[in-house]
């Protein structure tokens, strides 16, 4: 009997049983599957049991007493999905977001997500909302989607099981790819880019990796049910993944002050989330103080905002702003012939 069929038979048997089913009875019921030596049969059943538990099947072994015999039993109430009584709006949110994540082609736990959507839609009948939200991930080129999707799925499994991964990483900052062993703590999505956060054994500390830059990856297959590492209790993905360019942890953090005027003044809060804002003492001018761990990232952002955004201090930041702007002027004032030289 093939394994899928045997496990479904076990489900049917255990869901129907009113009394615990002993190992001896199971062997009687499935003589060709659990035949052979005791050891081999037990190993086979252990693997089936592990699969049942993975499926969410609430299987337990009860020790017998005067009134009940030893054996396996299942809590039926814990098995069946109860109706979640989601309102129309709640179902719409879950469906719109879940379907968009699936359609993006790359979401960790893609298979889990697809099953979850089916299950929560089970009681909805014909009233399932039609999702009209789409997500296109950035930094993933045509033809690369499948690879990124497969990596995310592997990483999701490794994160869930807490198994280390061995990866080949191609950072644009380095000419050659590096080989690293990483304990994957979690995955974060920022501006359409998936980032792996974990403990890098090569660097001996926390590091982030863009998933689309992982060239090759293997998950540790030794002792699959035993975790390789613990994630610290206070770990937070958000603390490690940059949302804005100046948040990349390239340098020691420094405080930078910006001056925003004109149309930018009223948008300062949304342009620079987390910055401390105050009036600069002039009508319609706002001063923003912020901690910056990648100065060039902030300066480039400021340049793109235009002359209504100026760097006030410290001097080193002002100088960098001026240096970059001057370089741009020089490069665009050169005669055309020199450009292509």
């Amino acid at each position: 009997m093939e394994r899928t069929e045997r496990i479904l038979d076990l489900v049917a048997l255990l869901l129907d049983a009113r009394e615990p089913i002993s190992w001896a009875e199971l062997r009687e019921h499935f003589p060709s599957d659990y035949g052979g030596s005791d050891d081999a049969a037990e190993r086979k059943f252990e693997r089936d049991k592990a699969e049942l538990v993975e499926l969410g099947f609430p299987l337990t072994y009860v020790q017998g007493d005067d009134e009940r015999r030893d054996g396996y039993i299942v809590d039926r109430d814990a098995y069946y999905l109860p109706e979640a009584d989601l309102t129309k709006e709640e179902l719409a949110v879950l469906y719109a977001a879940g379907s968009a994540a699936l359609a993006s082609g790359a979401f960790p736990g893609r298979d889990d997500l697809a099953h979850a959507l089916r299950k929560i839609g089970f009681f909805a009948g014909e009233s399932l909302p039609t999702p009209r939200v789409r997500m296109e991930l950035g930094a993933v080129q045509e033809g690369e989607e499948k690879e990124v999707s497969a990596r995310l799925e592997q990483l999701w499994d490794a994160c869930a099981a807490r198994k280390w991964v061995d990866l080949t990483y191609a950072s644009p900052k380095h000419p050659t790819a590096t080989q690293r062993k990483v304990d994957p703590y979690g995955l974060a999505l920022r501006r359409g880019v998936w980032t792996l956060v974990g403990h890098c054994h090569l660097r001996g500390g926390m590091r982030t990796f863009h998933v689309h830059r992982i060239r090759e990856m293997k998950v540790n297959t030794a002792r699959p049910r035993t975790p390789d590492f613990q994630v610290p209790e206070d770990f937070s993905l958000d603390a490690h993944v940059a949302y804005f360019p100046w948040q990349h942890r390239f340098h020691e953090p420094m405080e930078v002050t910006l001056r925003l005027s004109g149309a930018l003044a009223s948008r300062a809060g949304s342009l620079l989330p987390g910055a401390m804002l105050e009036s600069a003492g002039e009508e319609g001018v706002v001063r923003a103080r912020m901690r910056v761990s990648f100065l060039d990232g902030l300066v480039r952002f400021c340049l793109a905002l235009g002359p209504d955004c100026r760097v006030e201090g410290p001097e080193s930041a002002q100088a960098r702003h001026k240096e970059m702007a001057t370089r741009i002027v020089e490069r665009h004032e050169e005669p055309h012939e020199k450009v292509s030289a």
Binding site: E5, L55, G56, A78, V133, R134, P172
Partner: protein, 308 residues
């Protein structure tokens, strides 16, 4: 995950689904399970062999196809799907976070209800796994009313601020919301232009959902904005230094032409001087407009203004 695991999950859902929807067509069932018709028929064949000891005729699942419709007479207690596993609930909760800023109370209550349908023994595992995906994207508040308008097929009005121009009042039939590289867009039929248009959500103000209903076309699908693929009369050639080249290659793929010095060149649509200037400036000197001269001058002007 193994193929056996995936198949088991599918089969444990299939029987309850047919029990709940007797006479579902083979096509609709295959679509619900996201498998081909052939694979579905194979799964149905397998299920007819599933039962419980002592395997008398009444102990087997009785599921069959009649006139291209699927029925189940004996479900062997598989009348409802299994509860969500911690992984399934965690993946769904993390995906729902994508719309957090726009979903308001509905998201919070949906997540609470989701947790309640988990077996109590697995809730801690679910919370642990949920912390492992952070997809709390930058979805704007405007997603809320726009999602509602799309689902209820109602026209919307808003003030749209095109850079360099005064905000214009628009009336639009909303078809689809699109997030691309963290930027949100609405695609819909614009009454003013009498054509389908893409609007950036961060440029919309005063969104109102009207009472005017409409029927969306079945195939409305927004094109992903890509300045390197836009067809405009004015194209701009931009070169990037070897330092910036790897990042530009990631963004533009085969649209980035390699140069002898290790840099790359990209030709982009030049119909928005403001966008182009901002974009070139954001490379802090690692990008250079080659032509046309007007675009070069615009970038030089903007950089000079920043120096003060």
């Amino acid at each position: 995950m193994s193929n056996v695991h995936e198949r088991l999950r599918r089969l444990l859902f299939l029987v309850p689904y047919v029990s709940k929807h007797p006479g579902v067509t083979v096509e609709a069932l295959a679509k619900a399970l996201n498998i081909s018709r052939e694979d579905l028929l194979e799964e149905l064949d397998l299920l007819t062999c599933v039962g419980r000891p002592p395997f008398n005729p009444d102990d087997y699942i009785d599921i069959y196809v009649d006139n291209d419709r699927v029925y189940v007479d004996l479900d062997q207690r598989l009348f409802a799907p299994p509860r969500l596993t911690p992984g399934e609930a965690a993946a769904l909760a993390a995906a729902a976070e994508l719309l957090r800023p726009a979903a308001g109370d509905a998201l919070q209550s949906a997540l609470q209800k989701l947790e309640r349908v988990l077996p109590p023994s697995t809730r801690e595992r679910y919370r642990e796994m949920y912390r492992k995906i952070d997809a709390s994207a930058d979805a704007p508040q405007a997603l809320g009313p726009l999602t509602r308008a799309i689902i209820e097929r109602l026209e919307v009005t808003f003030a749209y601020a095109t850079p360099g121009r005064a905000p214009e009042s628009r009336r639009v039939r909303p078809y689809e919301l699109l997030s691309h590289r963290g930027q949100w867009y609405l695609q819909g039929f614009d009454h003013m232009r009498q054509d389908a248009r893409l609007f950036r959500l961060d440029r919309m103000e005063d969104i109102t959902v009207t009472d005017t209903a409409f029927l969306p076309p079945p195939d409305a699908r927004a094109d992903v904005p890509n300045p390197a693929r836009s067809r405009t009369e004015t194209s701009v050639r931009v070169r990037f230094s070897p330092v910036a080249a790897p990042y530009v290659k990631e963004r533009f793929g085969r649209d980035a032409r390699p140069l002898a010095d290790g840099g790359v060149e990209v030709v982009v649509a030049g119909d928005s001087e403001r966008w182009l200037t901002q974009w070139v400036l954001s490379f802090g000197g690692e990008a250079q407009v080659v032509e046309p001269a007007s675009a070069r001058a615009a970038v030089a002007r903007a950089a000079r203004a920043s120096v003060g």
